[in-house]
């Protein structure tokens, strides 16, 4: 069941579009903002409000990489693996984090503290290699900088 607040926020979005299903992505973003991810049940709830089938909503949800259909950790590390970062040291950065946390791309630590995901170009190419944790960008990375950065996220 969606909360009163989630429903209110979704209904506000509906007023901004000429047709209901146009608010589909915004509705999924709202649910994820409140819950961290989008469950099967939430897909059905959103479908009910937007007068769409659950399959249609899921078709949209699974298309976009930033809608999570599985639970994620409290903090998400997005490591840029595109070409400039790849050349300038993506691998040592990724290997360091992966070894330290004991997780690989797509996985979450058992204490739910971190999820690590690959990410296409973050637009930090002039300061490569780069990564993002939640909403924060970090660049010109070296493995020895990572302990301190990770420490900021509990």
């Amino acid at each position: 069941m969606l909360t009163e607040k989630e429903i209110q926020e979704i209904e506000h979005e509906l007023t901004l579009y000429p047709i209901k299903n146009a608010a589909c992505i915004e509705a999924l973003k709202i649910v994820q903002e409140h819950r961290g991810w989008v469950s099967d049940e939430s897909i059905k709830d959103v479908a009910g409000i937007l007068e769409m089938s659950a399959e249609e909503v899921d078709g949209v949800a699974t298309f976009y990489t930033m809608i999570f259909r599985k639970p994620v950790g409290r903090n998400i590390i997005f490591v840029c693996n595109s070409i400039t970062c790849y050349m300038l040291g993506f691998e040592p950065v990724y290997n360091y984090i992966s070894n330290k946390l004991g997780i690989r791309f797509g996985e979450t630590t058992p204490d739910q503290r971190f999820t690590i995901l690959p990410n296409p170009c973050l637009g930090d190419c002039d300061h490569a290699p780069a990564l993002m944790i939640n909403k924060d960008h970090y660049n010109k990375l070296k493995p020895e900088m990572l302990d301190e950065i990770l420490e900021k996220y509990k």
Binding site: I19, A22, V60, Y64, M66, I67, N81, G123, D126
Partner: protein, 425 residues
Amino acid sequence: MMETPLTQNINLEKGPCSLKGYIKTGGYSGVAKALKEMTSPQITQAVRDSNLLGRGGAGFNTGMKWSFVKIDDPNETRYVIANGDEMEPGTFKDRLLLEGDPHQLIEGMIITARAVNASVGFIFIRWAYKKAHKIVEKALAEAYEAGYLGKDILGTGFNFELHLHTSVGRYICGEETALINSLEGKRATPRAKPPFPQFSGLFGKPTIVNNVETYCNIPHIIKNGPIWFKGLSKTGEGGTKLYGVSGRVKKPGVWELPLGVTVRELLEVHAGGMQDGYKFRGLLPGGASTDFLVEEHLDVPMDFSSVSKVGSRMGTGTMIVMDDKTCPVAFIHNLIKFFANESCGWCTPCREGLPWVEKVLMKIEEGQGSEKDIDILKFHTKYLGPGNTFCALAPGAMEPLQSGLKYFAEDFERHLKEKCCPWKK
């Protein structure tokens, strides 16, 4: 002194240019002029005469694009959209404009809306540009407050609502019809063209989609005229351009320069040349989906027509430099893996072909490849090329592959002969 209209207000260390700061350098006087002194066709004509070519990478004449919109029916809803889905690997120019001077984009969109009689606009920004989301949102609120957006703008009776949309990922959103589907809340798959968005775009209404940098040029063209704008360039293509360089160079960065500076000047002067201990092998001139240029092309001017004459594209104008300590096969494999992941899956050649190419490149990189695999790659550069797929994603992916096979043939051969990657020995 060299004029840099697009970046004159940008100083990232001080934060984004405020409304006050923007007005101080003549900001929003373009809107005043366009709304009070010019008709819609006059605005479009000025932009057309300026020869501003689309800065997203396709290089189409912006004024000409606008001229296809039918503007006479006063009851028709029309849209203008800013494409800020900057996800082309190696590209980081629109981010500077969004974070540094958001009002410039807003002013460009208001003038464009007037030119095509649009009443609603969207700024579409990729999810990862969190800082830009906040900056643009604040600038929009300031512009509403000051009366540049909303109803009866500057007392002229012109209405324009402008909204921010933040994306939820996927490179394909940068394709204009896929972006429109995404704004409609759907999967971001491209649409068939025709009809072009100028006739049937967002919610089936006439729509203009332009790149962020393209819009940022508009206020300056309106204020100073097309002749001035053409004079900024070293070639017939109007204006300045945001150029960028990344890779093993001494000073990677992004700079506003006259259109048509040479590749060599960008690489050796602005980017400071290669880092010590690294030699130049080649570069992608305008993002991951452009053909390699090599040593013999360094004196080519960086504009749309000159770069296409030597078999590549200027694209976004932000180049990725490949050095001698990077394996060309691994470099191309990284690019293709990106494109395979980002294929929207709508058409078969792209959905099935790109993962196949990716696997073949992986096989060669790991020393398991044969001559037949090179033929398979060549086959794909043809069958995933222009005309065989629904949109430009797969053909774009084939550009670095086809030129890589040509310029780095020896490196591919070495992988086959030595049965390993020579860079990983």
